[in-house]
C-alpha cells in the first residue's frame, strides 16, 4: 500500500485549521486545540518523514514548504503560555500562519524536483534543518511583536508591550543563532561541493542573507534602543512577516489545484 503524501498533508492542513478554530474559543476548548494540534503535527511529521525517507541519504528538494509548518506546530506550545491573553494571541497568530503556509504549499507545490548527488552530506541536512528551525523562531518572534502591536495600542499599556517585545527579541536571538549556523553549514557545503563559498545558481541565497541582515538589525536595535519601542515593534512584526513571505517564496512552485 502506498501512502499519498499530498492527501496526508491535506489532512494535516485540515487539522491545523480546526486547531486554529478551536483556539478562538475560550477555556474548555483548550484541550481540543491541543488534541487537534497534536494530530496535525503527527500528520505533518508523517509527510516530512515520507519525503525524507524517499530521498535519503540525499536531501529532499524544497522540503521547506511542508517542514516549516511542522517546525511551527512543534514550537507553538512553547511559544507562549496559553494562560495569558498575550500567549493565547501568539498561539492564534501562529496557528493562522501555519494554516496559510499549508494552504500555500498545497496550492503552489514544488515537489517535482529530484534530489541531487551533492546533497548527500550532513552539511546539507544541517543547512536545511538549522534554517527551518531558525525561520520558525523568527516567525514566533514576529508573532510576539504582532500580538504586542494589537493588544497594547495605547501608551499606558507600555509595560505589556515591553514584555511582548522582550519575548520577541529572545526568539529573534535564538532564530538568529540557528540561521547563522544554517548559513555556515551552507557555506561549508558549498565549498566542499562546488569549491566556492557561494553558489550563484541559487537565488534563494540572497534571501537567506537578507533575513540575516534584517534580524542582525533587529538585535542591534534592541541592544542599543536606537528606535522607540513602538517603532521596533512595527519593524519586528511587519518586517518579520514580509521576510517570512519572501524566504518561503523559493519553496513554492506554480499553481496546482489541490483537489
Amino acid at each position: 500500500m502506498t501512502i499519498d503524501t499530498p492527501s496526508v498533508f491535506q489532512l494535516a492542513g485540515t487539522m491545523y485549521w480546526l486547531a486554529f478554530l478551536a483556539s478562538l474559543g475560550k477555556g474548555t476548548r483548550k484541550g481540543v486545540t491541543v488534541l487537534l494540534l497534536t494530530l496535525a503535527v503527527l500528520a505533518n511529521l508523517a509527510v516530512v518523514f515520507l519525503r525524507y525517507h524517499q530521498a535519503w541519504p540525499m536531501l529532499p528538494m524544497h522540503l521547506g514548504a511542508v517542514a516549516l509548518p511542522l517546525c511551527l506546530g512543534l514550537l507553538t506550545p512553547f511559544a507562549g503560555s496559553g494562560q495569558t491573553p498575550q500567549g493565547q494571541a501568539v498561539r492564534r497568530i501562529l496557528l493562522a500562519l501555519i494554516v496559510l503556509l499549508v494552504g500555500a504549499a498545497l496550492c503552489f507545490p514544488k515537489d517535482f524536483y529530484l534530489p541531487f548527488l551533492k546533497s548527500k552530506t550532513l552539511l546539507a541536512h544541517g543547512f536545511l534543518w538549522f534554517g527551518l528551525a531558525g525561520k520558525a523562531c523568527f516567525t514566533v518572534s514576529a508573532a510576539w511583536a504582532i500580538s504586542g502591536l494589537f493588544l497594547f495600542r495605547r501608551t499606558p499599556e507600555r509595560q505589556g508591550l515591553t514584555a511582548a517585545m522582550h519575548r520577541c527579541h529572545r526568539w529573534a536571538a535564538l532564530g538568529f543563532t540557528l540561521w547563522t549556523l544554517s548559513m555556515f553549514a551552507g557555506e561549508l557545503w558549498s565549498y566542499l561541493g562546488w569549491g566556492t563559498p557561494v553558489v550563484w545558481e541559487d537565488p534563494a541565497l540572497t534571501l537567506t542573507m537578507a533575513a540575516w541582515f534584517f534580524y542582525a538589525c533587529l538585535l542591534h536595535l534592541h541592544l542599543t534602543r536606537a528606535w522607540t519601542l513602538r517603532a521596533r515593534t512595527v519593524y519586528a512584526s511587519l518586517g518579520g512577516l514580509l521576510l517570512l513571505t519572501l524566504t518561503c517564496l523559493p519553496d513554492f512552485g506554480p499553481f496546482r489545484s489541490p483537489f
Partner: protein, 270 residues
C-alpha cells in the same frame, strides 16, 4: 587634523550607520533575489571567473540586472569598516577596564566583539576568494591519465573510478544510478606519492590546490555505457583559510555569547 580624524572614526563606528546599512543590505538583497532569479546565467560565471573579470564583462554590460550586486559590494565594504570601527572602540574601552573584572567575565564581555571580528574576517575571506582564486575548469581525467598542477611540478593521476550504485527501491529514478561517485587519485609532488579519494562532496587538497569533482561518467550501471571519466574544477583559493577562520571565530563568539545569555545571566539574576 586629529580632531577631524577622530570625528570621522566615530562617525564610521556609529551604531546608527550599522542600522542603516543593515536595512539597505536587506532591501538590496531582496532586489537581488528577483534579478538573480530572472537572470541566473548572468551570475553563474561568478563561481569560476573571479570578481574583476566578471565585473568587466557580465557585470558592466547588464547593469539593470547587476547593479544591485555592485551596490551590495559597496554596502558590505562600508559595513566591514563600520563594524571594525564600532567594535574596536568598544574593545578598547573593555580592555582599558579589564583590571576591574575577572578574566572569565572579560571573555564573556568580549563575545559579541569576537563575532563582529569574525564577520570581518569572513568578508575579507570572500573578497580574497573572489579576487585571487585561480580556477582551472574543464579538466578531465580518465583512468591512468595525468593532470599537471601549474607552477608546482605536482601531478595527479586517476587510478580508478570506484562508484557505489543505488540499490534501494524508494527512488525508482535512481535505480542502478551512481549514488557515490568515488575516484581514487595518485598525488605525486615529484618526491613522494600518496593516494587520495575524491568524491562529489569531498575535494582533495594538494600543493595549495583543491580538486573538486564537477561531473563524472558513467552515471549508471546498466544502459548505454559511457567511457569512464571525471571532470574536475581545480582551484587555488587563498580566501578559503580566511573565511573558514572567520566562521570558527564567529562560532566561538556565538558560543560564548549564548553561554553568557543562557547560563551566566540566569545565575546572576537568581
Amino acid at each position: 587634523m586629529q580632531h577631524i580624524v577622530s570625528r570621522i572614526w566615530h562617525a564610521l563606528g556609529s551604531i546608527n550607520l550599522t542600522v542603516g546599512l543593515c536595512l539597505l543590505l536587506t532591501a538590496d538583497l531582496v532586489w537581488g533575489y528577483f534579478c538573480l532569479e530572472r537572470h541566473t546565467p548572468l551570475f553563474t560565471p561568478l563561481n569560476d571567473m573571479g570578481l574583476i573579470p566578471w565585473m568587466q564583462t557580465y557585470g558592466s554590460h547588464n547593469l539593470p540586472w547587476t547593479v544591485w550586486f555592485f551596490l551590495l559590494l559597496a554596502l558590505l565594504a562600508l559595513l566591514a569598516v563600520n563594524t571594525f570601527a564600532c567594535t574596536t572602540n568598544r574593545v578598547v574601552h573593555l580592555l582599558a577596564a579589564k583590571s576591574m573584572v575577572s578574566k572569565r567575565r572579560l571573555a564573556l564581555k568580549l563575545a559579541p566583539h569576537i563575532m563582529h571580528y569574525g564577520l570581518i574576517v569572513i568578508l575579507a575571506g570572500y573578497l580574497a576568494s573572489y579576487l585571487c582564486t585561480q580556477v582551472l575548469t574543464g579538466r578531465t581525467l580518465v583512468p591512468g591519465a595525468y593532470l599537471s598542477l601549474p607552477g608546482t611540478g605536482g601531478q595527479v593521476r586517476m587510478v580508478a573510478f570506484e562508484p557505489d550504485y543505488y540499490r534501494g527501491t524508494r527512488l525508482g529514478f535512481w535505480k542502478d544510478e551512481v549514488i557515490t561517485a568515488r575516484a581514487r587519485l595518485l598525488l605525486d609532488d615529484g618526491t613522494t606519492q600518496r593516494e587520495a579519494m575524491l568524491t562529489c562532496t569531498h575535494p582533495v587538497r594538494f600543493l595549495g590546490y583543491s580538486l573538486h569533482m564537477h561531473d563524472f561518467a558513467p552515471k549508471s550501471q546498466g544502459g548505454m555505457k559511457m567511457k569512464t571519466r571525471i571532470d574536475l574544477h581545480v582551484r587555488k583559493d587563498p580566501g578559503v583559510a580566511l573565511y573558514l577562520a572567520g566562521i570558527v571565530l564567529f562560532t566561538v563568539g556565538l558560543a560564548l555569547y549564548l553561554y553568557e545569555w543562557i547560563i551566566d545571566r540566569e545565575t546572576t539574576t537568581l
